[in-house]
Symmetry: D2
Subunit: 256 residues, 4 copies
């Protein structure tokens, strides 16, 4: 028996309470829809957390018990407290996986990990998106064919202000004439990050089987191998150094 | 006649005032030594800035007039004000070049741009460093042979907590038995970043011709091609979209 | 006065002699059109070479005097002799730049340098191509805006069987619903390679200003910094090795 | 019950028959030592193949039944027949994993997949090698600490004529003063490639537990996800194209 993969799905959970269209699509919130199809997988343990819980539901304990964090946020990025962002970032660098969805491109956590603007073109219009599978060999695209389509989506277009991805997984085509790097991976510290573009709140995107398949594959892919806390050690020589009367090793750790 | 390359050399300028050994090596400060050999180049305009100047010498005006920023800091990283860090980061993402030296691996600016711990092993001991030139084709290594040695240096060792460099330029060998990725480039936004390891304050590293050559090459390499302010525009379709009575384009810019 | 950049434009020059439509667009051959707009640049020296010349016009001397090779081929890839391919590949690895155009994705030279299938989807149909500029900071895209359109082109679609590019410069959108990585760079050995998708022989693509601008920028970008012949040297130790009675340095060079 | 991972260990098997020192270390051949420790793993099926077998033991059938190919060769690279190289390369691009060991850097198969010289510095001298683990998060380094040492090895030094690795896993330090990128990964087509430096035939390297652990991890990491034959299809449009009386779709496949 293997240990289950511990997933935390974080949802902003605001649009659902303000916009009846969103509430109709996601009656328990987008996070519960996402958690729901993940829970249907074998050997996972899935919980959720939302913005308006204490510490946004991301206490030290919750994060310590999370292997992969899935994140959806949009209208309230600014309300996410900096210490919670710092805490989650620290966990990613130690090894926790991160799946960042759609408008999460502007989440503080994503921007802090990537260091760039993460800006893009956008258009809230009923557009068709076709995601081309650029990496048929990749664990994240297994079960997805050459491409799949989402009939109604918001448009995101290039240029996308990200560091060059380690792996470019999907490129989107939009009816309106744009393209977008819709699936991107990065390793940061010991953690694996996957950004996946689709998921505007007014469309039923997270009910679509291909989208669910990609996210399901991605949490498996992002599973940590290690958890290594940050250190910056004063390190004695392994090989003999030449004589130096002035040399002195200092016993302090992490003076920097 | 071409426009000169506008370089700002930023120095923390604290060790020089506290440690007579450092003052003896760099009587006007490390930044002035670095600015000095850069000024000897044709078609450059070089100024300096230091921590204890107002706004650390990095006002909006100074940064707007800077093509490439060279940075050395160590003991007072924490005193660099966050708004100045944010201002310099914004300029790099717009297109300004950045040469980050030695203990600048822990500068707030470097960590904010790369998003990782930037931690490493270290040992303040008189060690010999041999930098192997991994990219003899690169503009930064022109005039440098297969390797060069620095007779006395602090050791920095792997693992180094950085994102995979776009280009790995130098790998260091240390007598004590360690290795280090000593020359690394990244593009972030429209700006080019070069990290160059050597330069402990108690050794005459910045007086060494090979080190001067690398830094001189690097500022040329990091010259901006563009200056593009951050935008996240609402963008009308280029191609006709299918009919949708609910669709409405919003005129607001940058709502995100 | 600087040394001019020595460019050789290689054209297969077969379609032009068989298909009146192509001949009408490119009366002196596609290579002469490309050489023509490059010749209009300052400080360049441009020659051409074609398949049916002796040694395909790519003698040792011609290649030794070439800084950047521009290549267009399609229907006769198989007629390019292996020793000429090997000769050109050797020069790229030594430092020569290579601009590979359109159907050159299947040139022996390109496949030998990249090592992969270089296969793709295609459709010879009058399609509109819109090339999105993913790297507005890059020397190759200067003077090109956010995107440009080619009114009539063959379609090339993903997946494209290439190694992950060092830099992804353009992504194309096609009316028919496909996307493609249309501008890609790689460093191989000491040489810089740029693949640029547009240029089907039955359309006036190489007469379009944006296409000419990209190719003009690319030859500048691909300019060699060095020319380093291949060696695999037996190398004596720099630091003293521990005593070993069995050790013997061999004087042979390149035994491998 | 899962399907076992099908591994083929290919050995040149010449040194063992000519050099008594090598024969003493590897009485059944280096390939049998490597196959031996791999066979000790659960859920694997391991066979061997050698140069002097018909078709070098790598028939179409053997390769079709191989998930991961492990390769050691040195003195007889030139005797490996081109059609077998082409056959194995095709399988890697379809999805087969490849672990290339030590002097295999000059194997035809490796050079054909990477496209570069793969040259390096070398010295057959009893040197100590210390391999630093640059990627403690990577599946290939699990169970390996910060570094491990090999007491006696041939030296390989930079510059190493390879394309920039997708992932740099190990950097070696040598007593003689050199460094080397000793563990590197690339994806080529649908296949995963790992180059691992250690393994000179006159030393007991493949008997060392850390080396065995790395190779064991690597074959797991290189396990194929897919097997996709090469195609270059003529592809009909997905979206309607504008009217064009001259347009005609051709039914031929793979005309290129």
């Amino acid at each position: 028996m293997t240990t289950p993969l511990r997933i935390t799905v974080w949802g902003e959970y605001r649009h659902e309470n303000k916009n009846p269209k969103v509430a109709a699509l996601y009656p328990q919130g987008m996070h519960e829809t996402i958690a729901g199809f993940l829970r249907a997988q074998p050997e996972v343990s899935v919980r959720t957390a939302t913005l308006d819980e204490p510490e946004h539901g991301l206490t030290e304990t919750v994060l310590a018990e999370t292997d992969v964090l899935v994140w959806w946020g949009h209208m309230a990025h600014g309300e996410v407290r900096d210490e919670v962002v710092e805490r989650a970032k620290k966990r990613v660098l130690e090894g926790m996986g991160l799946i960042m969805l759609h408008s999460g491109h502007y989440a503080k956590l994503f921007k802090a990990l990537l260091g760039t603007t993460c800006s893009l073109k956008w258009r809230e219009a009923n557009d068709k998106e076709r995601l081309w599978n650029i990496r048929p060999d990749h664990p994240i695209t297994q079960g997805i064919g050459e491409y799949f389509e989402i009939p109604s989506e918001e448009m995101y277009g290039e240029p996308f202000g990200i560091p060059t991805p380690d792996e470019l997984i999907f490129i989107s085509w939009f009816t309106g004439g744009e393209v977008f790097r819709s699936g991107c991976t990065w390793v940061r510290g010991n953690g694996r990050i996957f950004y996946f573009r689709p998921g505007h709140e007014t469309y039923p995107t997270y009910h679509q089987p291909e989208v669910q398949r990609v996210i399901t594959n991605a949490v498996r892919w992002a599973k940590p191998t290690v958890c290594i806390p940050d250190v910056c050690p004063n390190s004695p020589p392994i090989e003999a150094l030449p004589e130096d009367p002035e040399r002195q090793f200092r016993s302090t750790v992490g003076h920097k």
